[in-house]
């Protein structure tokens, strides 16, 4: 979608899916990885994950991995566009945190 130019906040799910796909993974692998790195805080549900993956594929931020050993399970990986979107988001999040810390003071 081109109409969301300038609107850069990613959903938490999309953010972690993109991070997970720095190495090729299938659906189950993504869910496991995200659960692990967030200490089980983020549990992507299958319907949400499936919708997000299709959306990201359409947008060209991820693609099907060239060769996945297991043919029945589709593997995905991040594209250059996806990496760019992720970097922009990391910068945005840094700004949020910096401003938050500056106003609210150090965290005890």
């Amino acid at each position: 979608m081109a109409e969301d130019q300038g609107y850069v906040a990613l959903t938490e799910g999309v953010y972690y899916i993109l991070l997970a796909l720095h190495s090729p993974l299938h659906g189950y692998g993504i869910m496991q990885w995200v659960r692990e790195v967030t200490n089980e805080r983020v549990n992507l549900a299958p319907g949400t994950l499936y919708g997000a993956l299709n959306n990201l594929l359409e947008r060209g931020w991820i693609r099907a991995a060239d060769h996945s050993g297991d043919k029945t399970r589709k593997e995905y990986c991040i594209t250059q566009e996806g990496k760019q979107a992720l970097m922009e988001e990391i910068r945005r999040l840094e700004e949020l945190v910096q401003n938050g810390r500056r106003i609210m003071g150090g965290m005890n």
């Binding site: 959903t11 992507l44 949400t48 499936y50």
Partner: protein
């Protein structure tokens, strides 16, 4: 042992609760053909059940791809009725939800409302047209169906709006 129960639900979330309460008692849904539920006696609480309105019929290629995706995650489809699909997953694998964010839950409700709206709308138009043009009393059945459709349309719509309000604050 197999057991079958005939039951009608207007609210799929109540239906889900009912299936899960039977699962807790050891009755596991293995088949559904409207309006008959078929259960196998098994381990109490072995499965968690979830119901979803698919975007297409279960036989459609896109639904098939989705169902295969779910199978890879240990989710099994035990039955369907038109676009409604009945899924289950072993409770030992942990919690089982189909959606984990507001956006996808809102989307699901909006698809349900759209489907009910179309069915209700067609019945209303057909009913009124036949009443005016043919004066057939049976056309009142269409009007009645449209009236019935208004009930779930309203409660699903309310749930959707509630989530939309949350979405103004939360993701």
């Amino acid at each position: 042992m197999r057991r079958s129960i005939i039951k009608l639900f207007m609210d799929y979330e109540k239906e889900e609760k009912w299936l899960n309460s039977l699962s807790a008692k050891g009755l596991q849904l293995v088949h559904y053909s409207f309006p008959r539920y078929v259960f196998d006696e098994g381990e109490p609480g072995e499965y968690i059940y979830r119901i979803q309105l698919l975007e297409n019929l279960p036989t459609h290629a896109e639904s098939q791809a989705y169902i295969r995706f779910l199978e890879d995650l240990g989710v099994e489809m035990v039955g369907s009725y038109v676009r409604w699909a009945y899924f289950r997953k072993k409770a030992a694998d942990g919690p089982f939800e189909l959606y984990s964010d507001l956006e996808s839950r809102i989307r699901h409700y909006s698809q349900i409302c759209l489907m009910i709206g179309v069915v209700g709308g067609i019945n209303l138009v057909v009913g009124i047209t036949n009443l005016i043009n043919l004066g057939t009393p049976i056309a009142w059945l269409n009007v009645l169906a449209a009236g019935l459709a208004a009930i779930p349309f309203t409660f699903y719509g309310r749930r959707m709006l509630k989530l939309k309000r949350s979405q103004q604050i939360y993701e």
